[in-house]
Symmetry: C2
Subunit: 183 residues, 2 copies
DNA sequence: CCCATCTGAGACACAACTGTCTCATCAGTG
DNA sequence: CACTGATGAGACAGTTGTGTCTCAGATGGG
């Protein structure tokens, strides 16, 4: 039976989100395969990283679709987005680390497209009067994604319980992003 | 005249916060010195990174002192902390990236001590009734530092205006961390 | 049982980075 | 002007990771 590519990719995410410059040797060991097999599955390290990045971005885009962020109340949309994105927080941590490391045009463009979709959600929320207009939508998007990555790191290192993470992220972020009911 | 070590360190921060695994060659070029001089100033790459890390941690600790986070109203203390830490956001971005790359015991311990001080501030705020108790103080600290690093990256890449950064950080974070005046 | 296929272990050359060296050049000083 | 000290450029070996290869062993189907 051919070794499961997805399991290898998942193991690679686990290693690379902690150590973005991990060697193929470590990735192979973490995936439970030999270095030779890892090279048989992926043409090289760059290809592996790109594939992990593409996987992460695909799942992220799927999460945005699943959360239906263009529909209904913006605050509710953000809550759906949080729930959809929390399982991907480790992937998000990988992507934030990776985007600092490499200059892969494809990954960066896809990341920008995702960021634009999130930004549009916050812009819509501002236009609806739900989100504070004195905070730039770009900053809200940036901060949201930073916090998702932060959740990924915190959960990975055991500093945050996974079952608390969605609530912690949603409450902290929405508390800061939404307009106060009464000054 | 001996080349200014500090200017080299600052240049190193600029490069390493973007590319944590940048080569000595790139760091030297960014600092405007030759690779030979860089090696004359610092015994090696590890020493350089450690020194940059130590500098960042010292400045961070100094910022905590300057902000007098143990005194007075917790919310006001956080605002002072934001103002003191914003100029160091790039250093914070470096530290976050670096801690994922290396396992330098000294840096990690010092980072944990800083994190504990910040955590104590939020814990105090919760005990005073200013901060929401349903969010773990550890998460507040984690999120705060993630956002500071995020500010560093966003400013560095031109996605956030430096003069807006303190306000953006303080308002978003405090909005999420403080208890709502009335439900 | 035999065979096809896949996997793991190891060897190998190649590339990149590091750390050290030498030497020429340049600036400041007496 | 001569001299001292620091710097830049380049060469060099050593180390580490990569990519490819071969070969032996395991696994599963016919």
């Amino acid at each position: 039976m051919a070794i499961d590519r997805d399991s290898v990719l998942n193991a690679a995410v686990g290693v690379l989100s902690r150590q973005p410059n991990a060697a193929m040797d470590e990735i192979a060991r973490a995936a439970g395969v030999s270095r030779a097999t890892l090279h048989r599955l992926f043409p090289g390290r760059d290809a592996l990283v790109r594939e992990v990045g593409a996987l992460a971005l695909r799942r992220f885009a799927q999460a945005l679709d699943d959360a239906r962020i263009d529909e209904g109340d913006a605050v509710a949309a953000v809550r759906r987005l949080v729930d959809a994105v929390i399982p991907l927080s480790q992937l998000c941590a990988f992507l934030t680390g990776e985007s600092k490391l490499y200059e892969d045009t494809g990954i960066n463009e896809a990341w920008d497209r995702l960021d634009a979709r999130v930004r549009a959600l916050f812009l819509r929320g501002q236009q609806e009067g739900a989100f504070r207009i004195e905070l730039p939508a770009a900053w809200l998007s940036e901060a949201f994604l930073d916090l998702v990555a932060g959740v990924g790191w915190a959960v990975q290192d055991g500093r945050l319980a996974p079952r608390d993470s969605a609530h912690a992220l949603a409450e902290l972020f929405l508390g800061g992003a939404t307009r106060r009911p009464a000054p």
